[in-house]
Symmetry: C2
Subunit: 338 residues, 2 copies
């Protein structure tokens, strides 16, 4: 019988089953083939069930020197996007017997506390979104295997990177709007220092530049409905050249804010102005009209990130190549009216 009040240990199970602790470890660790008889094994399993034995993970982790746990560092969970990333990562992890611990970098002011101290868990590796920029310095210090999501492959100092093909997304948006006859653009850009958003801006500008007579203005806004509202309103009321007929937003949430600004200004979507977003959150179809946007496959993103980390941990070479993105055309874009 186990000592009262404390969790049963493998030694308690051993005593109950009349075997040594080592035998318990072998049986429960599924390494007993040819080492323990089937009847004894069953006796051990029965005793473990009886006592409600659960292995002490701290002890196991200490013994093995690895934890089969990885940390996923993401920005604050203000949309469901990183929920999807987590889901994908956790699914792949589970298939390999790994667990995923989430560390959303604290929202608002102040630098991130040390994510490792906060997670408290011993870790085998880290997947980090570059958007959780403030948490990255703490991560750099540790020499844990690291996979970066949405990060400049050239600037990652050898860390493995997994990216959505965000540049292609920008090109698809540009081509779609150009094909509809739009020539005057406003880019509502996320006011977040991130490689991703830089790439979007560059690719958008580059693509538009291939057509003569196009204009492109940029307005920056924090990623929030309120922020997008004020930024859009300011950009469109300031009399500055031709009024744009297309509004390219870095994010669905920004687009939602833009919708409100346009409504206030008396501009109709898409008749007076076309609007596009990025992400394809639930929000995109909640808007009226529904938003034309770049669909980012969050779960695949998470899956690929986790797969890459597992590859690193097992000494394999991670899969190469960006994750494709897809333009979803809905009601917020229409031919330009001259």
């Amino acid at each position: 019988m186990a000592r009262a009040g404390t969790r049963p240990t493998s030694r308690d199970v051993a005593q109950a089953a009349g075997v040594s602790q080592a035998a318990v470890s072998l049986v429960l660790g599924d390494k007993w083939r040819g080492r323990v008889s089937e009847t004894t094994a069953e006796r051990v399993r029965e005793a473990a069930r009886e006592l409600g034995y659960r292995p002490n993970l701290a002890a196991r982790n200490l013994r093995l020197g690895r934890t089969r746990t990885v940390l996923l560092v993401v920005p604050a969970l203000t949309t469901e996007f990183f929920g999807g990333v987590y889901t994908g990562a956790a699914r792949v992890a589970a298939r390999h017997g790994f667990g995923v611990v989430l560390y959303p970098s604290p929202e608002g002011v102040g630098p991130a506390r040390d994510p490792f101290a906060s997670a408290q868990a011993a870790l085998d590796g880290v997947i980090a979104s570059s958007m959780a920029a403030d948490a990255l310095s703490a991560i750099r210090g540790d020499q844990l295997p690291l996979v970066m999501l949405d990060s400049d492959p050239r600037g990652s100092h050898g860390a493995v990177t997994v990216n959505l093909d965000i540049g292609d997304g920008a090109r698809q948006v540009a081509d779609h709007l150009l094909a509809l006859g739009h020539r005057h653009f406003l880019h509502l850009a996320a006011d977040v220092p991130s490689w991703t958003f830089e790439v979007r801006a560059q690719e958008l500008a580059a693509r538009l530049a291939t057509v003569a007579g196009t204009t492109l203005r940029t307005a920056a806004a924090p990623i929030s409905i309120e922020g997008a509202l004020t930024a859009t309103e300011a950009a469109l009321t300031a009399p500055q050249g031709r009024r744009p007929t297309a509004l390219v937003c870095d994010d669905d949430k920004l687009a939602a804010g833009a919708y409100k600004a346009l409504r206030r200004l008396g501009l109709r979507v898409p008749d007076d102005i076309s609007v596009t977003g990025v992400d394809d959150l639930g929000l995109a179809t909640a808007l009226d009209p529904e938003l034309t946007t770049i669909r980012l496959d969050a779960e695949t993103f998470g899956e690929r990130g986790m797969a890459a980390l597992l590859a690193v941990l097992e000494g394999r070479t991670p899969e190469e190549g960006d994750i494709p993105v897809e333009l979803v055309v809905r009601g917020s874009t229409a031919p330009a009216t001259p």
Copy 2:
């Protein structure tokens, strides 16, 4: 010098500083006042910094028998709500030197895998949302300290419960709409077996019953924009008594779907029908017109949940009382037109 290739241990630090491992533990554990001289302590800290020493958490957890880590079990992260819960919980946890590990129960088909196996981390306690119903059976087995969020206090078998005052929310909605002259209601209910939603339905019905001549119909829908759309459309096209002038939704997301259905049916919000939600997600202000809704303070929810768990862990009595909720009146509700 530490053995090459492996992480430095406290023993390596001790050797580098010319002291015993015990002294390192004392200094770095901040328990050295009166036991180690300031100069020696500084030497130890310097050596630790030099070697890049990080304590092995698995070893520490094993030694201490506690991990200062708790698990937060939530439904799939399909809205930002539980992101807020996490933020609140993590904030309080950090103040007490605890970490929070998130376990979103897997979306879609199939029962949850064992959350403990997946988290892989040794845990001191659990906070679980009752909405992650499928994960609860696995939790029940362990005798870890448990705090339930949004759960029937009478049905929780002695587990501590922390609840939003969701019944009061339903009453506030009812009173608001009744005051606007509405008498014919449709309740768009979340098709999720959860105590919370039962309470809402009961309180709504009870409050409406206090006024003569009111009618209340109910339509159930899965919590998604699509689901709400079809359910609402079906409920309003089936010719069944008076057409409701008020649509009470269990959730902002349901309201978003309802908006779309109403638009298809040619009904204007709020002129033809008033709509309310619950949550006050970002979505609520993205809708046109903005949604009158019950604001749930997700962060306070998380804070209170974590505070309650800490109380249990420290043998104190958790704070009592439901968390107040607040009706936020926006443009989706207006006086009933006779």
